[in-house]
């Protein structure tokens, strides 16, 4: 094999390969590797930092979401209480209004009844007077004779009573 036979070239092969290796090592170590390795490390650091940041932001977002959910839940509770209170208030107000209205209606009814009663009494009184006068006049005309005061009064009263009874009877019907 030429690799074992050409012993004379071993010196130059070893010398130049070691020198070349040393030179390549020097060039790459001095000029090429540092910027590339630095760029690699910077990129790794950036990726690591970005990943950490995203983890942190994710945690924060989760926390904020939980807080918001809690706030929302509490707001829901408060709203329900407020609605309940408002409904209670409305019911109370409605009941009070109903009561007042009923009282007012009762009052108006009572007043109306009193008015009706007064009017009725007044009407009856007037009717009594008119009827008396009418009865006297008509009776005088029928009898064509003068009656004494006692007879007048008795006859009048009887007529009135009769009239009243008839009135009341007609009212009832």
């Amino acid at each position: 094999m030429p690799q074992f036979e050409q012993v004379s070239v071993f010196g130059s092969l070893i010398f130049w390969s070691l020198i070349s290796f040393g030179l390549l090592f020097f060039i790459l170590k001095k000029f090429a590797f540092p910027p590339i390795l630095e760029a690699l490390e910077l990129r790794e650091k950036k990726i690591r930092d970005d990943r950490d940041d995203s983890e942190r932001l994710k945690e924060e977002a989760k926390k904020i979401k939980e807080e918001l959910e809690a706030t929302l839940k509490s707001a829901h509770g408060k709203a329900e209480t407020i609605v309940q209170l408002a409904q209670d208030e409305a019911k109370k107000f409605q009941a009070k209004q109903l009561q007042e209205t009923e009282a007012k209606v009762r009052q108006i009814q009572k007043e109306a009844e009193a008015d009706i009663q007064g009017s009725r009494d007044k009407l009856l009184q007037e009717m009594r007077s008119y009827t008396a006068a009418l009865t006297i006049a008509s009776t005088e005309k029928f009898l064509k004779k003068a009656l004494d005061d006692a007879d007048k009064k008795r006859l009048v009263d009887e007529s009135i009573e009769q009239v009243i009874q008839e009135l009341e009877k007609s009212q009832r019907n």
């Binding site: 074992f4 070239v9 092969l13 390969s17 070349s20 290796f21 170590k29 090429a32 390795l37 760029a39």
Partner: protein, 243 residues
């Protein structure tokens, strides 16, 4: 038919003799320089353009290579200690890879198929591991010859075995690379010789095999560079950690 080992012959191009020492420039050295110039040129091109945070194609390739080597160094030596060895291991990987690949160009030469070269590099690495070991641990470095947990009675037996194992490291390192490169190129030469000498109706068969084997040789060029540097990392890691 030409000998399949013919292309392993070294031819002097520029004769240089200094003090009886033959330092002539030959075809193997020129091929190696071409390979190394391509590697250095690629790196210098990227650096001269300015290392971009968003890498281009060439920068990406070089970054992937460096990242791959760095993770390998960190795995076997440790991140703290390994940092200072990254440039050396990376240069070693690129040197062997460039020499292996440039040899696949027809008419070129694979300097890693010279056992003298692989031996010199392996011995250099072996000496370096000894220097690192003694520098870090002093006389305690001899503890590497005594594997942990063995009974005391076994120590006289284990020390010679460990010494042999240590000395076998550079030999295996050198022979593995040399043998793989030589074997691959020999197979290629034999197949190509067959293709050229045989009739056309038969010659296409070994020729198509050379294409397949060439692809395989590219993979072997990478694998051997990887194995050489991985073992170097393992040896350095061993002397730093002492088992």
């Amino acid at each position: 038919m030409e000998s399949p080992l013919h292309h392993f012959e070294v031819h002097t191009i520029i004769p240089i003799h200094i003090g009886g020492l033959d330092l002539s420039i030959n075809n193997a050295i020129v091929a190696m320089w071409v390979g190394l110039a391509i590697v250095a040129g690629a790196f210098m091109l990227v650096v001269s353009r300015g290392v971009n945070p968003v890498p281009g194609k060439l920068q990406s390739v070089l970054e992937v290579a460096l990242e791959f080597i760095r993770s390998m160094v960190y795995e076997f030596i440790g991140e703290e200690e390994g940092k200072k060895y990254v440039p050396f291991i990376a240069t070693l990987f690129l040197f062997i890879l460039a020499c292996n690949l440039i040899g696949l160009v027809p008419g070129s030469y694979t300097i890693t198929s010279q056992v003298a070269v692989t031996g010199a590099i392996a011995v250099g690495i072996f000496i370096m591991t000894l220097v690192i070991g003694f520098g870090k641990h002093g006389m305690h470095f001899f503890g590497i010859l005594v594997p942990p947990g063995i009974p005391k009675i076994m120590i006289p037996l284990m020390i010679p075995i460990e010494i042999i194992s240590m000395l076998a490291r550079p030999i295996s390192l050198a022979v593995r690379l040399f043998a793989n490169m030589t074997a691959g190129h020999t197979v290629l030469a034999v197949l190509f010789g067959l293709a050229m000498t045989g009739p056309l109706w038969l010659g296409w068969l070994p020729f198509s095999f050379t294409i397949v084997i060439n692809g395989l040789e590219i993979a072997i060029a990478f694998i051997q560079a990887y194995i050489f540097t991985t073992l170097t990392c393992v040896y350095i890691g061993d002397v730093i950690k002492l088992h």
